[in-house]
Every structure is written in structure tokens, then in C-alpha cells.
């Protein structure tokens, strides 16, 4: 969680929010071997993102390794900009995302920007890689009930097939939203788009998925 603290400025004291990963980031900057904590925290998220984007375990592992290596090497250059991040987005009652501010990690946004670039490079350099279905991912957390497992697997498979058919930017937004549980603000920062654009992107993606699922059922 980000911690509100008082930051002094020329106008006087004002509340400022700190990156929720600030402690871990600072420790890793002082001693690079402490990067391990950040690595363990975000490994599954980065790997999932890579896996859903590349649809291949080995490619996802390669991409994940590259992401964390680049993050470790670039950590001295990382700048925490949580204040600027918040200031760039007006918090209104309509946005309904004031709680997002408590969950912001500019480190995570920075890490996923690296991931986005690495995955984009991977896709660009190896377009001919055979694409395997992602059913393996569905049902990893299999409950004891076999019928429920099968139903969940079918639903997951149908959902994934619908997502896989989405255009690249919508698919990416959906993965960041549903798999990595990012807020709209974080997705906007990762994708380099405005929050409004991301909102519309997600809405249209869901509408496409809904139509696709309806077609599959019929």
C-alpha cells in the first residue's frame, strides 16, 4: 500500500503518496542482491503477461528472464513518479477509482513497460513461431469437483479463444486488467495511452468478447 506522507514544498506541507514498492526498490538500489524480493513479488505477473501474449512456455520464460535482467540493470535509472502519476489523472466521483491511488506502484508500471517492449520484440522477431492453445493455463488450480473443473476449463477456453481473437491493443488491455489486475490508470501508464482511451478499449473488448461468446453458444 502506498503511504501518505507530508512532503514540504514552497507552498507548504502537502500530502504526497509514495510508491507502495518504495521500500523494496530503495533496498534493491542500495544492495542489488535485495532485488530478489521484487523479483519474487512480480514473477508470476510478468510471466503470466508474457505467457498470455506469446502463448508459449519457453518463449514466456525467455521473455521473463529478459524483463527481470533489464529491470535489475536499469534499477539505478528508475525514477519514482507516483506524484506526477496521480497528478496527471483527475480524481472525480464519476471515475470511481479513488482506491486506485492506494494501489499504485510506479515500479510495477515501469516493469510492465519493460515487459511490453520485450514481448513486442519477441513477437516481432519470431512471427513464425507455432501458436499453441492456452488450455494448459486453464484449470491449473483444479478443484476436486471434476464436473466443475471441466466446466471451468470449457468456460476458460471459450473466454481465451474470444480474447485471442481481439486486436492487439484490446487483448493487451484485457490481459493487464484481468490477469495482472491492474487499474485503468496503471494500464494507461503501461500502454502509454490516456485513461479514457483505456476505458473505451476495455469496454469495446468486453463487447467483442460477449458477441464472440454468444456466437460460440449459438
Amino acid at each position: 500500500m502506498s503511504r501518505p506522507v507530508l512532503a514540504t514544498s514552497e507552498e507548504g506541507a502537502r500530502p504526497a503518496r509514495l510508491d507502495r514498492d518504495r521500500g523494496l526498490v530503495e533496498a534493491a538500489r542500495r544492495d542489488p542482491s535485495r532485488f530478489d524480493a521484487l523479483y519474487r513479488k512480480y514473477l508470476a505477473q510478468v510471466y503470466s503477461y508474457s505467457y498470455y501474449e506469446l502463448r508459449d512456455h519457453h518463449a514466456a520464460e525467455d521473455a521473463t528472464e529478459r524483463v527481470f535482467m533489464q529491470a535489475l540493470a536499469g534499477l539505478p535509472r528508475f525514477e519514482e513518479r507516483v506524484d506526477a502519476f496521480i497528478a496527471s489523472r483527475p480524481v472525480t466521483a464519476a471515475s470511481g477509482s479513488a482506491s486506485d491511488m492506494a494501489d499504485i506502484s510506479t515500479f510495477r508500471v515501469w516493469l510492465f513497460r519493460i515487459a511490453r517492449n520485450v514481448v513486442a520484440n519477441e513477437r516481432r522477431t519470431d512471427r513464425r513461431r507455432p501458436v499453441s492453445p492456452l488450455e494448459d493455463a486453464i484449470g491449473l488450480h483444479a478443484p476436486d469437483d471434476v464436473a466443475e473443473t471441466v466446466a471451468a476449463r470449457e468456460a476458460g477456453s471459450a473466454a481465451w479463444q474470444a480474447v485471442a481473437r481481439l486486436p492487439e491493443d484490446r487483448r493487451r488491455a484485457v490481459i493487464l486488467r484481468f490477469v495482472d489486475e491492474m487499474s485503468t490508470a496503471e494500464i494507461a501508464a503501461v500502454l502509454g495511452r490516456s485513461e479514457g482511451a483505456v476505458r473505451v478499449l476495455l469496454h469495446r473488448a468486453l463487447r467483442s468478447v460477449a458477441e464472440d461468446l454468444r456466437r460460440q453458444l449459438s
Partner: protein, 209 residues
């Protein structure tokens, strides 16, 4: 006043936030905006259930952790975090030492590093790789020669010679103990050829006692 697309997008966002919050507190009820398209709600629930987070294998996790730790150690030592990747293609031609005249007869070993592609145009009649060999040889010839190291044959020969000298010396310097005198007396009774034999050995080796 926002347009209908923006309003619908905000409704969807609120619903998604509610979906995540309900999961976090394990609540079945999710606040729903009645104006929201029910098909989108179903799709959102299905994606929420279907798109699970995937964890890599434990072996991969630990292997990457070890590589990151090694990279961190390199950073602490002031070195770059990532090792320069070894080039896959190409190789360096390393010539065995020899004279520059016998270029054609020289053995060449590819040791697996990159050939400098910025090399000058090769001399006429030589391929690019052969030209690289020639350039390497001129460098080798310019270096001072290393001293000759005598191998195992010389060492063994010297050891045998020293052993023979020691045996001859022991023959010519009999010990003066009581037991030794008895042995020599008994040996002398059986045969006198031993003395003569030692004399021959002394003559052969040229050892003067």
C-alpha cells in the same frame, strides 16, 4: 457532458472494479448498474474466471533467481549486470606458431569467437579467412620466442644416469661395518667376479673413486 460511449465505458470500469473487490472480500454480490449491458457483465465474469494467473515452474524460478543474484554480484563489483552474450555464428581463426613462409602448411583452429568483420580487404588470391590467418601470423612472428622446455625424455635420461653413478659409487666405497665385512668375505669365497664386475662398471662410467 460525456457521450454515451464514455458513459458506458465508465459503467464497465465500475463493474470491473466491483468484480475485483468482491473477489478480494469473497463476496458473491457485485454492485450492478442496471443500465449496463448484461452480455458485457457475463463476458466480464467469464474472463475473470477464465483468465487465471500462471506461475512458472519452481525450477525456472530458482534458476532465474540464481542468475539474478549473480548479476547483482557483478553490479556490486562495478561490472555490467548482464554478461556480453557469446556470438553464435562465426569464429576466430587461431594459427599455430610457425614461420610466416609456410602459411599453406599451418594448422588453423576455430575457437568460437567472432571474426573481426571490419578487417581490411584480403590480399589477392586469399580468401577472407586465410587473410585473417596471415594477419595473425605476422603478429605472432613479431613476439619474442618462448624458451624451449625439455620434456619427459630428458628428465628420465638424467635420472637413470644419476642412479648408475650412485650404484657405482656405492661399489667403490664399501661400508666398514662388521656385517658388511662378513658379507664381503662370503661373497669373495663364492666368486671373485663381483669385484671385477664393479671394476668394469667403474671403467665404463669413468667414475674415479
Amino acid at each position: 457532458m460525456p457521450g454515451s460511449a464514455t458513459r458506458n465505458a465508465r459503467r464497465t470500469e465500475r463493474y470491473l472494479d466491483g468484480l475485483v473487490a468482491a473477489d478480494e472480500r469473497r463476496a458473491a454480490e457485485i454492485p450492478v448498474d442496471t443500465d449496463m449491458d448484461p452480455a458485457i457483465r457475463v463476458a466480464a465474469r467469464q474472463l475473470r474466471a477464465g483468465l487465471v494467473r500462471v506461475h512458472p515452474s519452481f525450477r525456472f524460478e530458482e534458476a532465474l533467481a540464481a542468475r539474478l543474484a549473480a548479476a547483482a554480484d557483478r553490479m556490486k563489483a562495478g561490472l555490467p549486470a548482464e554478461l556480453p552474450s557469446a556470438p553464435v555464428a562465426g569464429g576466430t581463426l587461431t594459427a599455430f606458431r610457425g614461420t610466416g613462409a609456410a602459411v599453406a602448411d599451418l594448422g588453423v583452429v576455430v575457437v568460437g569467437a567472432a571474426v573481426a568483420e571490419s578487417a581490411a580487404t584480403p590480399p589477392i588470391g586469399l580468401s577472407h579467412s586465410a587473410a585473417t590467418v596471415v594477419r595473425g601470423l605476422t603478429d605472432v612472428a613479431a613476439r619474442p620466442r618462448r624458451p624451449l622446455i625439455v620434456g619427459g625424455v630428458g628428465v628420465a635420461s638424467a635420472a637413470i644416469s644419476l642412479g648408475a653413478v650412485y650404484v657405482a659409487w656405492r661399489h667403490s666405497h664399501p661400508t666398514s661395518g662388521r656385517m658388511s665385512r662378513a658379507v664381503r668375505a662370503a661373497h669373495g669365497r663364492v666368486s671373485h667376479s663381483g669385484r671385477r664386475g664393479s671394476g668394469v662398471v667403474n671403467e665404463i662410467l669413468g667414475v674415479v673413486s
